[in-house]
Protein backbone atom coordinates (compact mmCIF):
# COMPACT_ATOMS: atom_id res chain seq x y z
CA UNK A 1 0.00 0.00 0.00
CA UNK A 2 1.51 3.32 -1.05
CA UNK A 3 1.52 6.27 1.35
CA UNK A 4 -0.44 9.30 0.26
CA UNK A 5 0.28 11.57 3.20
CA UNK A 6 3.05 11.42 5.74
CA UNK A 7 3.59 13.80 8.67
CA UNK A 8 6.91 13.63 10.52
CA UNK A 9 7.43 15.35 13.86
CA UNK A 10 5.19 18.31 13.15
CA UNK A 11 5.31 21.06 15.77
CA UNK A 12 3.34 24.26 15.65
CA UNK A 13 3.67 27.28 17.85
CA UNK A 14 1.46 30.34 18.13
CA UNK A 15 3.44 33.33 19.31
CA UNK A 16 0.63 35.82 19.65
CA UNK A 17 -0.60 36.79 22.27
CA UNK A 18 1.58 34.32 24.24
CA UNK A 19 3.82 31.50 23.11
CA UNK A 20 1.55 28.48 22.75
CA UNK A 21 2.63 25.03 21.64
CA UNK A 22 -0.43 24.02 19.62
CA UNK A 23 0.85 20.82 17.95
CA UNK A 24 3.39 18.56 19.61
CA UNK A 25 5.43 16.02 17.64
CA UNK A 26 2.64 14.92 15.34
CA UNK A 27 3.68 11.92 13.22
CA UNK A 28 1.38 9.64 11.24
CA UNK A 29 0.67 8.54 7.70
CA UNK A 30 -2.31 7.74 5.52
CA UNK A 31 -2.20 5.10 2.82
CA UNK A 32 -4.02 5.07 -0.47
CA UNK A 33 -7.73 4.46 -0.13
CA UNK A 34 -7.70 4.78 3.65
CA UNK A 35 -10.61 6.57 5.37
CA UNK A 36 -9.31 8.21 8.54
CA UNK A 37 -11.14 10.36 11.06
CA UNK A 38 -9.69 12.73 13.63
CA UNK A 39 -11.46 13.23 16.93
CA UNK A 40 -10.74 15.25 20.02
CA UNK A 41 -12.03 17.94 22.29
CA UNK A 42 -12.66 21.43 21.06
CA UNK A 43 -9.41 23.41 21.02
CA UNK A 44 -7.11 20.37 20.92
CA UNK A 45 -5.60 21.43 17.58
CA UNK A 46 -7.54 19.50 14.94
CA UNK A 47 -8.15 22.43 12.61
CA UNK A 48 -4.61 23.71 13.12
CA UNK A 49 -3.25 20.31 12.04
CA UNK A 50 -5.54 20.18 9.02
CA UNK A 51 -4.39 23.63 7.79
CA UNK A 52 -0.79 22.41 7.91
CA UNK A 53 -1.56 19.12 6.19
CA UNK A 54 -3.45 20.96 3.46
CA UNK A 55 -0.27 23.06 2.81
CA UNK A 56 -2.13 26.33 3.47
CA UNK A 57 -0.18 26.92 6.68
CA UNK A 58 3.57 26.82 6.10
CA UNK A 59 4.62 28.17 9.48
CA UNK A 60 5.53 24.89 11.28
CA UNK A 61 8.47 22.64 12.12
CA UNK A 62 8.74 19.09 10.80
CA UNK A 63 8.22 17.42 7.45
CA UNK A 64 5.12 16.83 5.38
CA UNK A 65 5.04 14.49 2.37
CA UNK A 66 2.13 14.38 -0.05
CA UNK A 67 2.16 11.65 -2.69
CA UNK A 68 5.75 10.96 -1.62
CA UNK A 69 6.81 14.52 -2.30
CA UNK A 70 8.26 16.71 0.45
CA UNK A 71 6.12 19.84 0.56
CA UNK A 72 7.92 21.65 3.37
CA UNK A 73 9.93 24.56 1.98
CA UNK A 74 8.22 24.68 -1.43
CA UNK A 75 7.24 28.03 -2.92
CA UNK A 76 3.68 29.32 -2.62
CA UNK A 77 3.04 28.76 -6.31
CA UNK A 78 4.16 25.13 -6.08
CA UNK A 79 1.98 24.57 -3.02
CA UNK A 80 -0.99 26.15 -4.79
CA UNK A 81 -0.55 23.63 -7.58
CA UNK A 82 -0.36 20.72 -5.09
CA UNK A 83 -3.56 21.90 -3.40
CA UNK A 84 -5.24 22.27 -6.76
CA UNK A 85 -4.31 18.85 -8.11
CA UNK A 86 -3.87 16.55 -5.12
CA UNK A 87 -5.94 17.89 -2.25
CA UNK A 88 -9.65 18.47 -1.94
CA UNK A 89 -10.54 20.57 1.08
CA UNK A 90 -13.93 20.81 2.77
CA UNK A 91 -14.15 23.60 5.32
CA UNK A 92 -15.71 23.60 8.74
CA UNK A 93 -18.05 26.30 7.47
CA UNK A 94 -19.43 26.53 3.98
CA UNK A 95 -17.11 28.45 1.77
CA UNK A 96 -18.32 29.32 -1.71
CA UNK A 97 -17.87 32.34 -3.97
CA UNK A 98 -21.24 34.04 -3.42
CA UNK A 99 -21.44 35.85 -6.78
CA UNK A 100 -20.83 32.73 -8.83
CA UNK A 101 -23.34 30.02 -9.61
CA UNK A 102 -23.13 26.68 -7.87
CA UNK A 103 -21.90 25.11 -11.09
CA UNK A 104 -19.19 27.74 -11.58
CA UNK A 105 -18.01 27.25 -8.00
CA UNK A 106 -17.55 23.55 -8.62
CA UNK A 107 -15.88 24.09 -12.01
CA UNK A 108 -13.38 26.74 -10.90
CA UNK A 109 -10.59 24.47 -9.48
CA UNK A 110 -10.76 22.31 -12.62
CA UNK A 111 -10.53 25.38 -14.85
CA UNK A 112 -7.50 26.45 -12.88
CA UNK A 113 -5.90 23.01 -13.33
CA UNK A 114 -6.63 23.30 -17.03
CA UNK A 115 -6.30 19.61 -17.89
CA UNK A 116 -9.73 19.25 -19.44
CA UNK A 117 -11.90 21.17 -21.86
CA UNK A 118 -14.64 23.40 -20.48
CA UNK A 119 -17.30 20.96 -21.75
CA UNK A 120 -15.68 18.02 -19.94
CA UNK A 121 -15.30 20.07 -16.78
CA UNK A 122 -18.94 21.08 -16.88
CA UNK A 123 -20.00 17.46 -17.41
CA UNK A 124 -17.83 16.33 -14.46
CA UNK A 125 -19.14 19.12 -12.26
CA UNK A 126 -22.75 18.13 -12.92
CA UNK A 127 -21.87 14.50 -12.17
CA UNK A 128 -20.40 15.52 -8.80
CA UNK A 129 -23.44 17.65 -8.03
CA UNK A 130 -25.72 14.69 -8.88
CA UNK A 131 -23.68 12.54 -6.53
CA UNK A 132 -24.55 14.95 -3.72
CA UNK A 133 -28.18 15.35 -4.85
CA UNK A 134 -27.98 19.08 -5.55
CA UNK A 135 -27.70 19.13 -9.34
CA UNK A 136 -31.10 20.87 -9.38
CA UNK A 137 -29.45 23.92 -7.77
CA UNK A 138 -26.60 24.05 -10.33
CA UNK A 139 -27.54 27.37 -11.95
CA UNK A 140 -28.45 29.23 -8.76
CA UNK A 141 -26.10 31.75 -7.27
CA UNK A 142 -24.13 30.23 -4.43
CA UNK A 143 -25.43 32.91 -2.07
CA UNK A 144 -29.01 31.81 -2.73
CA UNK A 145 -28.88 28.25 -1.35
CA UNK A 146 -29.17 26.88 2.17
CA UNK A 147 -26.27 26.15 4.53
CA UNK A 148 -26.52 22.38 4.13
CA UNK A 149 -26.70 22.74 0.37
CA UNK A 150 -23.59 24.93 0.43
CA UNK A 151 -21.75 22.27 2.40
CA UNK A 152 -22.62 19.66 -0.20
CA UNK A 153 -21.57 21.98 -3.03
CA UNK A 154 -18.20 22.47 -1.36
CA UNK A 155 -17.81 18.68 -1.14
CA UNK A 156 -18.57 18.46 -4.85
CA UNK A 157 -15.94 21.14 -5.47
CA UNK A 158 -13.39 19.18 -3.43
CA UNK A 159 -13.98 16.16 -5.66
CA UNK A 160 -13.80 17.92 -9.03
CA UNK A 161 -10.07 17.39 -9.74
CA UNK A 162 -10.13 13.74 -8.56
CA UNK A 163 -7.62 14.49 -5.79
CA UNK A 164 -5.46 11.90 -4.01
CA UNK A 165 -6.84 12.95 -0.65
CA UNK A 166 -9.85 14.76 0.70
CA UNK A 167 -9.45 16.71 3.93
CA UNK A 168 -12.55 17.84 5.73
CA UNK A 169 -13.00 19.96 8.83
CA UNK A 170 -16.36 18.79 10.19
CA UNK A 171 -17.85 18.56 6.68
CA UNK A 172 -21.10 17.13 8.00
CA UNK A 173 -21.35 19.54 10.91
CA UNK A 174 -24.17 21.54 9.36
CA UNK A 175 -26.08 18.63 7.85
CA UNK A 176 -29.15 16.77 9.08
CA UNK A 177 -28.62 13.10 9.87
CA UNK A 178 -29.99 11.96 6.52
CA UNK A 179 -27.62 14.14 4.51
CA UNK A 180 -24.73 13.40 6.90
CA UNK A 181 -25.36 9.72 6.25
CA UNK A 182 -25.40 10.38 2.52
CA UNK A 183 -22.08 12.24 2.68
CA UNK A 184 -20.56 9.44 4.70
CA UNK A 185 -21.73 6.90 2.13
CA UNK A 186 -20.26 8.96 -0.69
CA UNK A 187 -16.93 9.22 1.12
CA UNK A 188 -16.87 5.49 1.80
CA UNK A 189 -17.75 4.68 -1.79
CA UNK A 190 -14.98 6.96 -3.06
CA UNK A 191 -12.44 5.39 -0.75
CA UNK A 192 -13.45 1.83 -1.68
CA UNK A 193 -14.11 2.18 -5.38
CA UNK A 194 -11.70 4.94 -6.43
CA UNK A 195 -9.03 4.35 -3.81
CA UNK A 196 -9.41 7.92 -2.56
CA UNK A 197 -7.86 8.69 0.82
CA UNK A 198 -9.87 10.72 3.32
CA UNK A 199 -8.91 12.59 6.46
CA UNK A 200 -11.99 13.91 8.21
CA UNK A 201 -12.24 15.85 11.45
CA UNK A 202 -15.49 15.08 13.20
CA UNK A 203 -17.24 15.33 16.54
CA UNK A 204 -19.76 12.70 15.42
CA UNK A 205 -18.77 9.45 17.14
CA UNK A 206 -21.15 7.37 15.04
CA UNK A 207 -19.53 8.79 11.90
CA UNK A 208 -16.01 8.17 13.23
CA UNK A 209 -16.73 4.59 14.26
CA UNK A 210 -17.60 3.69 10.68
CA UNK A 211 -14.22 4.89 9.33
CA UNK A 212 -11.13 2.70 8.87
CA UNK A 213 -9.12 4.40 11.61
CA UNK A 214 -9.66 7.04 14.30
CA UNK A 215 -6.87 9.40 15.29
CA UNK A 216 -7.61 10.90 18.69
CA UNK A 217 -6.01 14.15 19.74
CA UNK A 218 -5.61 15.83 23.09
CA UNK A 219 -3.83 19.11 23.80
CA UNK A 220 -1.83 19.02 20.58
CA UNK A 221 -0.80 15.35 20.93
CA UNK A 222 -1.96 12.26 19.11
CA UNK A 223 -2.93 9.60 21.64
Amino acid sequence: MSTILEAKNINKYFRDPVLFHALKNISFDITKGEFVSIMGKSGCGKSTLLYILSTMDTDYDGELYIDGELTSGKTNDELAFIRNKHIGFVFQFHYLLPEFTVLENVMLPAKKLGEKSIEEIEYDAIEKLKLLHIDDQALKLASRISGGQKQRVSIARALINSPSIIMGDEPTGNLDSKNAENVFNIFQELSHQQNLSLLIVTHDEEFANKTDRIITMEDGHII
Partner: protein, 420 residues
Protein backbone atom coordinates in the same frame (compact mmCIF):
# COMPACT_ATOMS: atom_id res chain seq x y z
CA UNK B 1 -3.47 31.75 -21.66
CA UNK B 2 -6.06 29.47 -20.16
CA UNK B 3 -5.50 30.79 -16.64
CA UNK B 4 -5.63 34.31 -18.05
CA UNK B 5 -9.18 33.62 -19.25
CA UNK B 6 -10.25 32.27 -15.86
CA UNK B 7 -8.75 35.28 -14.11
CA UNK B 8 -10.53 37.65 -16.47
CA UNK B 9 -13.76 35.73 -15.90
CA UNK B 10 -13.45 36.10 -12.12
CA UNK B 11 -12.54 39.80 -12.45
CA UNK B 12 -15.53 40.37 -14.66
CA UNK B 13 -17.95 38.83 -12.18
CA UNK B 14 -16.40 40.80 -9.31
CA UNK B 15 -16.73 44.03 -11.27
CA UNK B 16 -20.27 43.38 -12.47
CA UNK B 17 -21.49 42.36 -9.02
CA UNK B 18 -20.25 45.76 -7.75
CA UNK B 19 -21.36 47.73 -10.75
CA UNK B 20 -21.94 50.92 -8.77
CA UNK B 21 -18.45 51.14 -7.32
CA UNK B 22 -16.97 49.98 -10.62
CA UNK B 23 -18.81 52.72 -12.48
CA UNK B 24 -17.68 55.39 -10.05
CA UNK B 25 -14.07 54.32 -10.41
CA UNK B 26 -14.35 54.20 -14.19
CA UNK B 27 -16.06 57.58 -14.31
CA UNK B 28 -13.14 59.06 -12.38
CA UNK B 29 -10.83 57.88 -15.14
CA UNK B 30 -13.28 59.06 -17.79
CA UNK B 31 -13.27 62.49 -16.23
CA UNK B 32 -9.47 62.75 -16.17
CA UNK B 33 -9.05 61.46 -19.70
CA UNK B 34 -11.74 63.57 -21.30
CA UNK B 35 -10.38 66.65 -19.52
CA UNK B 36 -6.96 65.86 -20.94
CA UNK B 37 -8.29 65.44 -24.46
CA UNK B 38 -10.33 68.63 -24.29
CA UNK B 39 -7.53 70.66 -22.75
CA UNK B 40 -4.92 69.42 -25.18
CA UNK B 41 -7.15 69.93 -28.19
CA UNK B 42 -8.12 73.41 -27.09
CA UNK B 43 -4.68 74.51 -25.95
CA UNK B 44 -3.11 73.23 -29.13
CA UNK B 45 -5.81 74.91 -31.13
CA UNK B 46 -4.92 78.10 -29.34
CA UNK B 47 -1.24 77.55 -30.01
CA UNK B 48 -1.99 76.94 -33.66
CA UNK B 49 -4.06 80.09 -33.78
CA UNK B 50 -1.25 82.14 -32.32
CA UNK B 51 1.19 80.41 -34.66
CA UNK B 52 -1.00 81.59 -37.48
CA UNK B 53 -1.21 85.00 -35.91
CA UNK B 54 2.48 85.50 -35.36
CA UNK B 55 4.65 82.91 -37.04
CA UNK B 56 2.87 82.82 -40.37
CA UNK B 57 2.59 86.56 -40.65
CA UNK B 58 5.91 87.65 -39.30
CA UNK B 59 8.98 87.63 -41.49
CA UNK B 60 11.53 85.06 -40.39
CA UNK B 61 14.20 87.69 -40.84
CA UNK B 62 13.64 91.41 -40.94
CA UNK B 63 16.53 93.32 -42.52
CA UNK B 64 16.84 97.09 -42.18
CA UNK B 65 19.36 99.82 -41.67
CA UNK B 66 19.34 100.85 -38.06
CA UNK B 67 20.53 104.24 -37.03
CA UNK B 68 23.11 103.68 -34.30
CA UNK B 69 26.51 105.02 -33.30
CA UNK B 70 29.56 103.36 -34.82
CA UNK B 71 30.91 100.59 -32.67
CA UNK B 72 34.46 101.67 -33.37
CA UNK B 73 35.06 105.31 -32.69
CA UNK B 74 37.89 106.91 -34.73
CA UNK B 75 40.31 106.81 -31.83
CA UNK B 76 40.29 103.05 -31.93
CA UNK B 77 42.10 103.15 -35.24
CA UNK B 78 45.13 104.88 -33.71
CA UNK B 79 47.72 102.24 -32.89
CA UNK B 80 49.66 104.39 -30.39
CA UNK B 81 46.70 104.54 -27.98
CA UNK B 82 45.40 101.04 -28.52
CA UNK B 83 46.80 99.85 -25.17
CA UNK B 84 45.23 102.68 -23.23
CA UNK B 85 41.72 103.17 -21.85
CA UNK B 86 40.00 105.73 -24.05
CA UNK B 87 36.84 107.58 -23.09
CA UNK B 88 34.75 109.29 -25.75
CA UNK B 89 32.01 111.58 -24.48
CA UNK B 90 28.74 112.37 -26.20
CA UNK B 91 28.82 109.77 -28.92
CA UNK B 92 26.21 110.60 -31.58
CA UNK B 93 25.12 108.39 -34.43
CA UNK B 94 26.53 109.38 -37.75
CA UNK B 95 23.76 110.62 -40.01
CA UNK B 96 23.05 107.57 -42.10
CA UNK B 97 20.14 107.00 -44.40
CA UNK B 98 17.37 104.56 -43.53
CA UNK B 99 17.84 103.35 -47.07
CA UNK B 100 19.38 99.93 -47.58
CA UNK B 101 22.31 100.41 -49.89
CA UNK B 102 22.16 98.25 -53.01
CA UNK B 103 18.92 96.70 -51.87
CA UNK B 104 17.83 95.20 -55.18
CA UNK B 105 21.02 93.14 -55.73
CA UNK B 106 20.75 91.97 -52.10
CA UNK B 107 17.12 90.89 -52.65
CA UNK B 108 18.11 89.06 -55.82
CA UNK B 109 20.95 87.38 -53.99
CA UNK B 110 18.70 86.28 -51.11
CA UNK B 111 16.06 84.96 -53.47
CA UNK B 112 18.68 82.74 -55.07
CA UNK B 113 19.83 81.31 -51.72
CA UNK B 114 18.36 77.80 -51.41
CA UNK B 115 17.22 78.20 -47.79
CA UNK B 116 15.20 81.29 -48.63
CA UNK B 117 11.61 80.91 -49.69
CA UNK B 118 11.28 84.54 -50.59
CA UNK B 119 12.71 87.98 -49.85
CA UNK B 120 10.65 91.06 -50.56
CA UNK B 121 11.24 94.79 -50.18
CA UNK B 122 9.29 97.35 -48.24
CA UNK B 123 9.49 101.10 -48.17
CA UNK B 124 8.33 102.77 -44.99
CA UNK B 125 7.45 106.40 -44.97
CA UNK B 126 6.00 108.80 -42.45
CA UNK B 127 3.33 111.29 -43.30
CA UNK B 128 -0.13 112.63 -42.50
CA UNK B 129 -3.54 111.57 -43.65
CA UNK B 130 -5.62 114.53 -44.64
CA UNK B 131 -9.33 114.33 -45.26
CA UNK B 132 -11.34 117.53 -45.14
CA UNK B 133 -9.93 119.51 -42.28
CA UNK B 134 -8.67 116.49 -40.33
CA UNK B 135 -5.02 115.47 -40.08
CA UNK B 136 -3.72 112.22 -38.67
CA UNK B 137 -0.21 110.98 -38.13
CA UNK B 138 0.51 108.05 -40.35
CA UNK B 139 2.91 105.29 -41.20
CA UNK B 140 2.70 104.47 -44.86
CA UNK B 141 4.41 101.31 -45.99
CA UNK B 142 5.05 100.50 -49.59
CA UNK B 143 4.70 96.80 -50.26
CA UNK B 144 4.63 94.28 -53.03
CA UNK B 145 1.05 93.29 -52.21
CA UNK B 146 0.86 89.96 -54.06
CA UNK B 147 4.18 88.72 -52.67
CA UNK B 148 3.21 89.85 -49.15
CA UNK B 149 0.00 87.87 -49.40
CA UNK B 150 1.86 84.89 -50.74
CA UNK B 151 4.63 84.81 -48.13
CA UNK B 152 3.13 86.43 -45.05
CA UNK B 153 -0.62 85.88 -45.46
CA UNK B 154 -1.10 89.60 -45.73
CA UNK B 155 -4.57 89.00 -47.13
CA UNK B 156 -5.67 87.66 -43.72
CA UNK B 157 -5.63 91.19 -42.41
CA UNK B 158 -7.76 92.68 -45.13
CA UNK B 159 -11.36 93.10 -44.09
CA UNK B 160 -12.58 94.92 -47.18
CA UNK B 161 -11.08 95.05 -50.65
CA UNK B 162 -8.24 92.72 -51.68
CA UNK B 163 -4.52 92.60 -52.36
CA UNK B 164 -5.28 92.51 -56.06
CA UNK B 165 -7.12 95.80 -55.85
CA UNK B 166 -4.09 97.36 -54.28
CA UNK B 167 -1.69 95.76 -56.69
CA UNK B 168 -3.68 96.94 -59.70
CA UNK B 169 -4.07 100.52 -58.59
CA UNK B 170 -0.85 102.53 -58.51
CA UNK B 171 -2.71 105.31 -56.67
CA UNK B 172 -4.47 102.95 -54.32
CA UNK B 173 -4.13 102.84 -50.57
CA UNK B 174 -5.16 100.19 -48.05
CA UNK B 175 -6.11 102.04 -44.87
CA UNK B 176 -5.97 100.79 -41.31
CA UNK B 177 -9.49 100.32 -40.04
CA UNK B 178 -8.84 102.76 -37.17
CA UNK B 179 -7.75 105.48 -39.53
CA UNK B 180 -10.81 104.91 -41.68
CA UNK B 181 -13.17 105.07 -38.71
CA UNK B 182 -11.60 108.21 -37.33
CA UNK B 183 -11.91 109.97 -40.66
CA UNK B 184 -15.22 108.31 -41.70
CA UNK B 185 -13.75 107.03 -44.92
CA UNK B 186 -15.19 104.39 -47.20
CA UNK B 187 -13.88 102.40 -50.12
CA UNK B 188 -13.63 104.57 -53.21
CA UNK B 189 -13.13 107.74 -51.15
CA UNK B 190 -10.02 109.82 -51.63
CA UNK B 191 -7.54 110.51 -48.93
CA UNK B 192 -4.62 112.89 -49.20
CA UNK B 193 -1.20 112.05 -47.89
CA UNK B 194 1.15 114.82 -46.84
CA UNK B 195 4.80 113.84 -46.68
CA UNK B 196 7.25 115.34 -44.23
CA UNK B 197 8.22 117.96 -46.74
CA UNK B 198 4.57 119.10 -46.87
CA UNK B 199 3.82 117.90 -50.40
CA UNK B 200 0.38 116.42 -50.89
CA UNK B 201 -0.32 113.21 -52.79
CA UNK B 202 -3.97 112.18 -53.33
CA UNK B 203 -4.71 108.46 -53.14
CA UNK B 204 -7.82 106.34 -53.63
CA UNK B 205 -8.96 103.96 -50.91
CA UNK B 206 -9.11 100.40 -52.27
CA UNK B 207 -9.68 98.59 -48.99
CA UNK B 208 -9.23 98.33 -45.24
CA UNK B 209 -7.13 96.12 -43.08
CA UNK B 210 -7.32 95.18 -39.44
CA UNK B 211 -4.34 93.73 -37.60
CA UNK B 212 -6.06 93.58 -34.23
CA UNK B 213 -3.55 95.92 -32.64
CA UNK B 214 -5.20 99.33 -32.23
CA UNK B 215 -2.01 101.33 -32.38
CA UNK B 216 -1.23 99.83 -35.77
CA UNK B 217 -4.77 100.07 -37.11
CA UNK B 218 -4.90 103.73 -36.09
CA UNK B 219 -1.78 104.79 -37.99
CA UNK B 220 -0.70 102.23 -40.54
CA UNK B 221 -1.65 102.05 -44.18
CA UNK B 222 -0.27 100.20 -47.15
CA UNK B 223 0.49 101.38 -50.66
CA UNK B 224 2.51 99.98 -53.53
CA UNK B 225 6.30 100.23 -53.31
CA UNK B 226 6.38 102.78 -56.13
CA UNK B 227 3.73 104.93 -54.44
CA UNK B 228 5.72 104.98 -51.23
CA UNK B 229 8.83 106.02 -53.13
CA UNK B 230 6.79 108.79 -54.71
CA UNK B 231 5.56 109.97 -51.30
CA UNK B 232 9.17 110.10 -50.16
CA UNK B 233 10.27 111.61 -53.44
CA UNK B 234 12.92 108.97 -53.72
CA UNK B 235 14.20 106.92 -56.64
CA UNK B 236 13.17 103.38 -57.48
CA UNK B 237 16.18 101.97 -55.71
CA UNK B 238 15.03 103.35 -52.35
CA UNK B 239 14.20 100.37 -50.12
CA UNK B 240 14.08 100.60 -46.32
CA UNK B 241 13.29 97.04 -45.27
CA UNK B 242 13.69 93.55 -46.59
CA UNK B 243 11.50 90.79 -45.20
CA UNK B 244 12.72 87.24 -45.62
CA UNK B 245 10.80 84.02 -45.30
CA UNK B 246 12.80 80.80 -45.02
CA UNK B 247 11.79 77.28 -45.84
CA UNK B 248 12.72 76.23 -42.33
CA UNK B 249 12.21 78.60 -39.43
CA UNK B 250 15.04 76.91 -37.54
CA UNK B 251 17.55 78.46 -39.95
CA UNK B 252 16.45 81.97 -38.98
CA UNK B 253 19.07 82.67 -36.32
CA UNK B 254 22.05 81.55 -38.38
CA UNK B 255 20.79 83.23 -41.51
CA UNK B 256 20.14 86.56 -39.80
CA UNK B 257 23.65 86.55 -38.34
CA UNK B 258 25.04 85.84 -41.75
CA UNK B 259 23.13 88.72 -43.33
CA UNK B 260 24.10 91.11 -40.54
CA UNK B 261 27.79 90.27 -40.82
CA UNK B 262 28.02 90.01 -44.56
CA UNK B 263 26.13 93.17 -45.48
CA UNK B 264 26.57 95.35 -42.43
CA UNK B 265 22.84 95.63 -41.87
CA UNK B 266 20.61 94.95 -38.90
CA UNK B 267 18.85 91.60 -39.25
CA UNK B 268 16.38 90.49 -36.59
CA UNK B 269 15.27 86.86 -36.63
CA UNK B 270 11.80 85.77 -35.56
CA UNK B 271 13.03 83.79 -32.59
CA UNK B 272 14.73 86.76 -31.03
CA UNK B 273 11.82 89.02 -31.86
CA UNK B 274 9.20 86.65 -30.44
CA UNK B 275 11.01 84.82 -27.65
CA UNK B 276 8.04 85.28 -25.32
CA UNK B 277 5.87 83.51 -27.83
CA UNK B 278 7.52 80.11 -27.51
CA UNK B 279 7.43 80.45 -23.74
CA UNK B 280 3.68 80.95 -23.98
CA UNK B 281 3.30 77.77 -26.00
CA UNK B 282 5.26 75.66 -23.56
CA UNK B 283 3.46 77.14 -20.56
CA UNK B 284 0.11 76.27 -22.13
CA UNK B 285 1.28 72.71 -22.73
CA UNK B 286 2.53 72.49 -19.17
CA UNK B 287 -0.84 73.62 -17.82
CA UNK B 288 -2.69 71.02 -19.87
CA UNK B 289 -0.45 68.22 -18.62
CA UNK B 290 -0.51 69.43 -15.02
CA UNK B 291 -4.31 69.65 -14.89
CA UNK B 292 -4.80 66.27 -16.54
CA UNK B 293 -2.25 64.53 -14.34
CA UNK B 294 -3.90 66.02 -11.28
CA UNK B 295 -7.29 64.74 -12.42
CA UNK B 296 -5.87 61.30 -13.16
CA UNK B 297 -4.16 61.25 -9.79
CA UNK B 298 -7.51 61.88 -8.15
CA UNK B 299 -9.06 59.17 -10.29
CA UNK B 300 -6.17 56.88 -9.33
CA UNK B 301 -6.82 57.45 -5.65
CA UNK B 302 -10.48 56.64 -6.27
CA UNK B 303 -9.55 53.35 -7.90
CA UNK B 304 -7.06 52.61 -5.14
CA UNK B 305 -9.73 53.17 -2.50
CA UNK B 306 -12.39 51.18 -4.25
CA UNK B 307 -10.07 48.23 -4.88
CA UNK B 308 -8.90 48.34 -1.27
CA UNK B 309 -12.51 48.21 -0.14
CA UNK B 310 -13.26 45.46 -2.63
CA UNK B 311 -10.37 43.37 -1.30
CA UNK B 312 -11.59 43.88 2.23
CA UNK B 313 -15.04 42.65 1.19
CA UNK B 314 -13.55 39.83 -0.83
CA UNK B 315 -11.35 38.37 1.92
CA UNK B 316 -13.42 35.17 1.92
CA UNK B 317 -13.23 34.82 -1.84
CA UNK B 318 -9.48 35.29 -1.71
CA UNK B 319 -9.16 32.62 0.98
CA UNK B 320 -11.32 30.19 -0.99
CA UNK B 321 -9.42 30.80 -4.20
CA UNK B 322 -6.12 30.21 -2.44
CA UNK B 323 -7.41 27.10 -0.65
CA UNK B 324 -8.63 25.58 -3.90
CA UNK B 325 -5.37 26.03 -5.74
CA UNK B 326 -5.11 29.59 -7.01
CA UNK B 327 -1.70 31.03 -6.23
CA UNK B 328 -0.99 34.41 -4.66
CA UNK B 329 0.05 35.64 -8.09
CA UNK B 330 -3.27 34.52 -9.59
CA UNK B 331 -5.09 36.50 -6.93
CA UNK B 332 -2.87 39.51 -7.58
CA UNK B 333 -3.61 39.28 -11.30
CA UNK B 334 -7.35 39.14 -10.60
CA UNK B 335 -7.23 42.48 -8.83
CA UNK B 336 -4.77 44.12 -11.21
CA UNK B 337 -6.90 43.07 -14.14
CA UNK B 338 -9.91 44.63 -12.43
CA UNK B 339 -8.03 47.91 -12.16
CA UNK B 340 -6.89 47.70 -15.76
CA UNK B 341 -10.41 46.89 -16.97
CA UNK B 342 -11.65 49.96 -15.10
CA UNK B 343 -8.82 51.90 -16.77
CA UNK B 344 -9.69 50.64 -20.26
CA UNK B 345 -13.43 51.16 -19.95
CA UNK B 346 -13.06 54.54 -18.24
CA UNK B 347 -10.29 55.56 -20.63
CA UNK B 348 -12.15 54.67 -23.83
CA UNK B 349 -15.25 56.42 -22.54
CA UNK B 350 -13.04 59.40 -21.70
CA UNK B 351 -11.65 59.47 -25.24
CA UNK B 352 -15.15 59.40 -26.71
CA UNK B 353 -16.51 62.08 -24.38
CA UNK B 354 -13.36 64.15 -24.83
CA UNK B 355 -13.77 63.96 -28.60
CA UNK B 356 -17.45 64.88 -28.50
CA UNK B 357 -16.91 67.84 -26.19
CA UNK B 358 -14.04 68.97 -28.41
CA UNK B 359 -16.42 68.87 -31.36
CA UNK B 360 -18.85 70.97 -29.37
CA UNK B 361 -16.25 73.56 -28.49
CA UNK B 362 -15.10 73.53 -32.08
CA UNK B 363 -18.55 74.73 -33.10
CA UNK B 364 -19.01 77.47 -30.53
CA UNK B 365 -18.87 80.85 -32.27
CA UNK B 366 -15.80 82.84 -31.35
CA UNK B 367 -15.52 86.18 -33.04
CA UNK B 368 -12.98 88.71 -32.04
CA UNK B 369 -11.77 91.95 -33.49
CA UNK B 370 -8.21 90.81 -33.06
CA UNK B 371 -8.46 87.79 -35.32
CA UNK B 372 -10.75 88.58 -38.24
CA UNK B 373 -10.53 85.22 -40.04
CA UNK B 374 -11.59 83.05 -37.05
CA UNK B 375 -15.28 82.25 -36.48
CA UNK B 376 -15.27 79.43 -33.90
CA UNK B 377 -13.03 78.36 -31.02
CA UNK B 378 -9.95 76.63 -32.37
CA UNK B 379 -9.57 72.92 -31.52
CA UNK B 380 -6.92 70.54 -32.75
CA UNK B 381 -7.56 66.80 -33.15
CA UNK B 382 -4.26 65.01 -32.76
CA UNK B 383 -4.26 61.22 -32.48
CA UNK B 384 -1.05 61.45 -30.42
CA UNK B 385 -3.09 63.09 -27.63
CA UNK B 386 -5.52 60.17 -27.70
CA UNK B 387 -2.67 57.67 -27.49
CA UNK B 388 -1.01 59.55 -24.62
CA UNK B 389 -4.35 59.81 -22.82
CA UNK B 390 -4.96 56.07 -23.13
CA UNK B 391 -1.45 55.30 -21.88
CA UNK B 392 -2.06 57.67 -18.98
CA UNK B 393 -5.28 55.85 -18.11
CA UNK B 394 -3.67 52.42 -18.28
CA UNK B 395 -0.57 53.33 -16.31
CA UNK B 396 -2.38 55.24 -13.57
CA UNK B 397 -4.99 52.52 -13.05
CA UNK B 398 -2.31 49.85 -13.11
CA UNK B 399 -0.39 51.63 -10.36
CA UNK B 400 -3.59 52.25 -8.40
CA UNK B 401 -4.46 48.56 -8.68
CA UNK B 402 -0.99 47.24 -8.01
CA UNK B 403 -0.76 48.07 -4.31
CA UNK B 404 -4.14 46.62 -3.27
CA UNK B 405 -3.45 43.59 -5.48
CA UNK B 406 -0.12 43.07 -3.77
CA UNK B 407 -1.98 43.14 -0.46
CA UNK B 408 -4.45 40.56 -1.73
CA UNK B 409 -1.58 38.36 -2.84
CA UNK B 410 -0.18 38.31 0.69
CA UNK B 411 -3.43 37.54 2.49
CA UNK B 412 -3.06 34.40 4.59
CA UNK B 413 -6.06 32.14 3.85
CA UNK B 414 -5.72 30.29 7.15
CA UNK B 415 -6.26 33.49 9.08
CA UNK B 416 -9.45 34.18 7.14
CA UNK B 417 -10.79 30.63 7.40
CA UNK B 418 -10.03 30.42 11.12
CA UNK B 419 -11.62 33.81 11.61
CA UNK B 420 -15.07 32.45 10.68
Amino acid sequence: MNSFRIILGISKIHLISRIKQTSIAALGVTFGISAFIILMGFMNGLNGLLDGLILNRTPHIHVYNDIKPSENQPIAYFKDVSETFNVVHSVKPKQTQKKIHNAQPLINYLNQTPKVKGAIPQVSAQGFYISGNQQLNGMITGINALAEANLFNFDNYITEGSVIDLNNNINGILLGIGVAKKMSLRIGDRVQIANIKGEIIPLKIVGFFQSGLAEIDNTQSYVNVKTAQRILAESESYITDINVKLHNIEDAVAMSKFIANEFGLTAIDIKTANAQFETGTSVRNLISYAVSITLLLVAGFGIYNILNMMIYEKMNDIAILKATGFSGNDVKRIFISQAVIIGIVGGVLGLIIGYLVSRLIDNIPFETEAIPNITTYPVVYNYIHYIIAMLFAMISTFIAGYLPAQKAKNIDPVEIIRGQ
